[in-house]
């Protein structure tokens, strides 16, 4: 807590970094002005605000703040562009698509599986094991979660079974990449195939053409109703009725931050991922740490899958995750392997999915489809280093050879 207050107290409101941050804010504002509820119908105002944002960006960029400055310039340009598009389209159309409370609650729903996948990946990659099998782990959790739910009529059992199944898949990843020293990306790719095949096979074998039973919703993970805030404007529709797993994901997020950055265990985890030889020298078991990290990563990612099948859509289909795990991986990279930045990335990507869902209401489906590609484009830009490069844990991908 003292650290937070010290940081707030020491914040310089006119430093280049702060000015860059204002620029990003102004860029967003330029676009927001044209949307409901304000509906600015002139192009002049958003353009002026956007130019201010770009000016802030240039100011920051000229003072060696590349990341924030670049971000502010990008936000300004994007803000003006999107504002011009918004001004062109009619007010009723905008009102149909941009319902802020609905957009935000959909964002939370879409970003939750991403957050579970990304946090699972965070443990794994922070320990120095690359995990491209998050997709497979999500899918495994999704199938075994709904299967156990159907079997036991209890969502607690469903979550436990999903975690076990995800952990089992991750155990293969651990043994292969830690003990057999196989290329971790090859193993991850293999596990994605294996998860896709096994869940599809068991699904067809057990449920056949009829699909999962319709009454799963009755035993699914419950929603948390907070009755007294339901009537509040804006906040009520977003937080009044959220699934338990969404609240749990927030807990997991904070817990992860505390664990990884504020406990000795987290320090060990990170040191094993950054410099395993040094960690080994001071007596930390690299193998044990990595095993624990990889296996828990599978269990956590599987929780996201279980939410997807038993908490959100209440059914299962072959390959139902369809890239969700990869967006989670993208969020982890976009968030630079840090919990809160990763959370921000999952919200951003979840928002783009929510927008992709709502755009067809007024504008036809084709533009919505393009928004599905946005997370991947942003992550590509992030690894390219245009706006501050993403660099992962130093030892990620390299098996450790004990001496």
């Amino acid at each position: 807590m003292t650290a937070v207050t010290a940081r707030l107290g020491g914040f310089q409101w006119t430093s280049p970094r702060a000015v860059g941050a204002y620029g990003i804010g102004l860029g967003v504002l330029a676009f927001w002005l044209t949307l409901p509820p304000l509906h600015t119908r002139t192009t002049a105002l958003p353009v002026v605000v956007g130019i201010l944002a770009i000016a802030c960006g240039i100011f920051a960029l000229a003072r060696e703040e590349r990341r924030v400055g670049g971000g502010a310039i990008a936000a300004g340009v994007l803000g003006i562009g999107l504002a011009l598009v918004a001004v062109q389209s009619s007010v009723p159309h905008l009102n149909q698509v941009v319902v802020w409370s609905a957009l935000f609650s959909a964002t939370l729903v879409y970003s939750t599986p991403l957050l579970y996948a990304a946090i699972g990946g965070l443990y794994c990659e922070r320990s120095g094991v690359v995990n491209v099998a998050l997709e497979g782990m999500l899918l495994t959790g999704a199938y075994f979660g709904i299967w156990a739910d159907d079997f036991s009529h209890s969502w607690v059992v469903a979550l436990l079974v999903a975690m076990l199944a995800g952990a089992a898949l991750a155990t293969i990843h651990a043994v292969w990449s830690i003990h057999f020293k196989v290329d971790q990306i090859i193993t991850g790719t293999a596990l994605n195939f294996l998860a896709l095949g096994i869940t599809g096979y068991l699904f067809i074998d057990h449920y056949g053409d009829a699909g999962t039973p319709g009454n799963i919703a009755d035993y699914g993970i419950p929603d948390i109703h907070i009755n007294f805030i339901k009537s509040w404007p804006f906040i009520g529709p977003i937080f009044g009725q959220l699934n338990l797993m969404i609240w749990l994901s927030f807990l997991l997020l904070v817990g992860t931050w505390v664990f990884v950055f504020r406990t000795p265990f987290g320090l060990r985890l990170r040191s094993v991922g950054e410099h395993p030889r040094a960690a080994d020298t001071v007596g930390i078991s690299v193998y044990k740490t990595r095993y624990i990290a990889v296996i828990s990563s599978g269990a956590i990612a599987a929780l996201g899958g279980a939410y997807l099948s038993t908490g959100f859509v209440h059914s299962f289909n072959q390959n139902m995750t369809a890239g969700t795990g990869f967006i989670g991986l993208a969020a982890l990279i976009f968030g630079k392997w840090r919990p809160f930045a990763t959370w921000f990335a999952t919200l951003l990507f979840g928002f783009s999915s929510a927008l992709a869902d709502r755009l067809p209401i007024a504008y036809g489906s084709e533009w919505g489809t393009l928004f599905q590609a946005l997370p991947y484009v942003l992550t590509l830009v992030a690894v390219a280093g245009v706006i501050g490069r993403s660099i992962g844990p130093a030892a990620a991908g390299r098996p450790y050879e004990r001496q």
């Binding site: 491209v132 292969w176 790719t189 294996l194 489906s365 084709e366 393009l370 590609a373 484009v377 590509l380």
Partner: protein
């Protein structure tokens, strides 16, 4: 040191050191033979183990694995080679007939045509993975490059309807290949300039290609068939742009010359890798980038060139598929396609050699075709199950190909002997 540490030391020792003493003191020819035999035995063992474990899955879920595998094998059309008799066959692209030991129009022959149709793009995407691998790059983006190639093939194939067929096909294939090369080149440039990991960037490029394709051919998309605005699918490729069919009937999706293009590319791959300066530089960078840089080879340039050539191979696979039998694309085809990843499995199983990729692609082409709903008898095994079984087997192959199964056997025996 604890006992467990001792075991781990044994493990690493056997993996790295054990095979070497046996090589020493052996005549050169015999040594080469054993090396090559080992290169062949490993993948074979991997395949057998993968099919065995897949069979266990079938057995556990209450089916007879032998019957299932027999039905799948018959669906592949590979049994055609064993049906020797006395037949006459039409010479491709001619009207004359000649004597031939196999019946070219039997059901098995038709199945084999389908297997080979699938083998061609797997070879090409496999080469895309293999070429990058030789440069030390893991090109996991074969799927995206394959898709970009197929988009350009659709775009050019549906335009220029009245062009001379030869030029139309050539133009389409060349442009599609270049487009794929440019697309993969993005990952190559990022690796060469800012050091962005190619695995991450190619995964992102895969998904960008998938969603952009869904947009292009989806309802209202720019390449969707304007005559049927309700159906999310592209227009048909012009007749002139379709690859000639040399075996089987055009209407029954006969075998196009795409398989020859793929085999030719296997040769091209072998020549580039083993007989050109470019291939030498690529391999040098793959073995040791630092050493290559020290000896004056530009690592950055080779990263880009290797990715671009890899993308070109994969995109050619997309073009061959579109012009050879698909002729049209929809968002469903794009999202369900996994040819790029099957190519990855083929490259890994074939150990990135031309011959290996060829045989591994035939194996996967046969497996995919034999388990498809079109070939498999539903009364023996449901095709939906079989398709998933094929996916499981692919996963197992990739899983086991990375570990040295023979090495583990040796380690296990030694460990038991020592304890």
């Amino acid at each position: 040191m604890t006992d467990q540490n001792h075991g781990d030391e044994l493990l690493s020792e056997d993996f790295e050191e054990a095979p070497r003493p046996s090589d020493e003191g052996m005549p050169g020819v015999r040594m080469t033979f054993f090396r090559q035999a080992r290169g062949f035995v490993g993948p074979l063992l991997t395949t057998v183990v993968a099919f065995f474990v897949g069979g266990l899955v079938v057995l556990v879920t209450g089916h007879n694995p032998l019957k299932v595998y027999k039905a799948i094998f018959e669906g592949t059309g590979l049994n055609w080679f064993f049906q020797i008799g006395s037949h006459s066959a039409r010479i491709p692209f001619a009207t004359t007939h000649m004597w031939f030991p196999w019946d070219t129009s039997s059901i098995a022959a038709q199945n084999l045509q389908q297997t080979l149709l699938l083998t061609a793009p797997i070879i090409l995407t496999g080469l895309g993975v293999a070429f990058a691998f030789r440069c030390g790059l893991f090109n996991i983006g074969g799927e995206g490059q394959y898709l970009v190639g197929s988009y350009f093939a659709i775009w050019l194939g549906t335009s220029f309807v009245h062009m001379n067929p030869f030029f139309h096909v050539t133009l389409t294939i060349v442009i599609a290949t270049l487009a794929g090369a440019a697309y993969a080149g993005i990952a190559g440039i990022l690796k060469a300039t800012v050091g962005a990991h190619e695995v991450i960037s190619t995964i992102m490029l895969n998904w960008i290609a998938i969603w952009v394709g869904s947009y292009l051919f989806g309802a209202g998309g720019p390449l969707q068939n304007k005559l049927q605005p309700d159906i999310p699918i592209s227009g048909d490729v012009a007749d002139g742009a379709k690859l000639p069919v040399f075996w089987g009937l055009k209407l029954l999706q006969g075998l196009s010359i795409g398989i020859f293009i793929a085999i030719a590319m296997l040769v091209v791959y072998w020549i580039i890798i083993n007989r050109t300066t470019l291939g030498f530089a690529v391999r040098a960078v793959g073995f040791n980038p630092e050493a290559a840089r020290a000896s004056g080879i530009s690592v950055a340039r080779n990263y880009f060139v290797a990715m671009a050539i890899a993308g070109g191979f994969a995109a050619l696979g997309g073009a061959v598929d579109v012009l050879g039998w698909e002729f049209r694309l929809g968002p469903g085809d794009i999202q369900n396609s996994s040819i790029g990843f099957i190519g990855l499995a083929a490259a890994l199983l074939g150990r990135n050699t031309a011959v290996g990729v060829g045989f591994a692609s035939l194996l996967f082409g046969a497996l995919i075709n034999g388990t498809s709903g079109r070939q498999l008898d539903p009364s023996i095994f449901a095709p939906e199950l079989a398709g998933n079984l094929a996916t499981i087997i692919q996963g197992l192959v990739i899983l086991f190909v990375g570990i040295n199964l023979g090495g583990i056997l040796v380690w296990w025996r030694k460990r038991r002997a020592s304890s």
